[in-house]
Symmetry: C2
DNA sequence: ACATGCATGATACGGGTGTACCAGAAGAAG
DNA sequence: CTTCTTCTGGTACACCCGTATCATGCATGT
């Protein structure tokens, strides 16, 4: 057979074309024909590799999640101290550079789609945020036990609040209300506030 | 003539039909025909009162903004103390009851639309958040001068952070990650944290 | 009473959508 | 060499979209 790698490679090529369109023109502009044109293949091929549009959307979303996770791991790097890890995770989500801007924008595009699609994408997409929040809370707890955070703080609630804040900051950046630098400054301010033992 | 009030009444009726659809099925399902059906009028009428779809979208967005502002003023009520005002404003945005859920969902629907429409809706929609943030910052500053907030806090940055957090919390509620009560709890926790003089 | 203008209804048009169908290449298996 | 599976291209279908057009009602101002 013509090797399975080529098959997967094609799928990747097409799915990434979808993501590119979702980033630049929004998901509603990502028709099958537009994706095919962007990927440089025929409409039939898109149909062949992903039978339905929903399949394509789902696959692309999975890949987007993988990209974000890869970025996070890259940003964490060799950081081991909880404070550094938390800072890395949170600030790498903010749309400060081209890559994060792209990822955030595309996620935002998917967000609206998920809102009005009962639960089709639910199982696929609803887990990362919950897992991430748990991981974050664990890091904060570790920092707290190391004496870097006031013992009276509730680490779980703090983690949820920080994540929500980063999310909201990202929205404001995408909406053009402020730029990435300002958003990052706001985040670091609150992180400094948290990591302070009186 | 048949009185201008009827004209405006019709516009309201149609625009609210649009908002109703945007809430329940998303903005992408709000076609002219669907809006007409929802409002119980003919397609031609929708065209007549709002010549173009963009006009309808814009008008409905303006009304949505007015609804949110009315809700905020209602929630502020007779509260005058800065802490109460801030708490009221922030918590009334969270999707905890039917009305706020509706408003938040509809705003979210518009958000994606604004992201990929260069600047058509910009002037119309980009001002409220900035104004609100300024107002919030002013309230925090007042509370700080009254000694209810640690003097070392940066009120402007805190206001921005809180607003972003509420925004993010709203998204998580809409996404089904947690319910309104939990979100409110997270918000109150951070407010209590802020309004505390060591 | 008639003409004027606003309000409404029915329908048509061009275009874009997701998906289905049919017909061939190309290469492996017998 | 033939046969069969995997892959690719072109095209058609039914549907929905926003908008434009034509025609009619109906109340009013003179």
């Amino acid at each position: 057979m013509t090797a399975k790698v080529e098959h997967e490679e094609r799928r990747r090529q097409i799915a990434e074309a979808l993501l590119r369109i979702a980033d630049t023109e929004g998901l509603q502009s990502a028709s099958m024909r537009a994706v095919a044109a962007e990927a440089g293949v025929s409409l039939r091929l898109v149909q062949y590799y992903f039978t339905t549009k929903e399949g394509l959307l789902l696959d692309a979303l999975t890949r987007l999640g993988a990209q974000l996770q890869a970025r996070m791991e890259r940003w964490i790097g060799e950081a081991r101290a909880p404070q550094e890890v938390v800072t890395a995770i949170l600030s790498c989500i903010l749309p400060t550079d081209a890559e994060s801007r792209r990822i955030t924008r595309t996620y935002a595009a998917y967000y609206t789609l998920v809102l009005n699609d009962p639960a089709v994408l639910e199982k696929q997409a609803a887990q990362p945020p919950a897992l991430l929040e748990g991981f974050l809370a664990k890091q904060l707890r570790a920092a707290q036990e190391a004496g870097q955070i006031d013992a009276r703080r509730d680490t779980a609630v703090s983690a949820a609040g920080l994540l929500a804040m980063v999310n909201g900051l990202g929205s404001s950046v995408l909406g053009g209300q402020r730029d990435g630098e300002e958003a990052l400054a706001i985040l670091t301010y609150h992180l400094d506030e948290l990591f302070r033992t009186p």
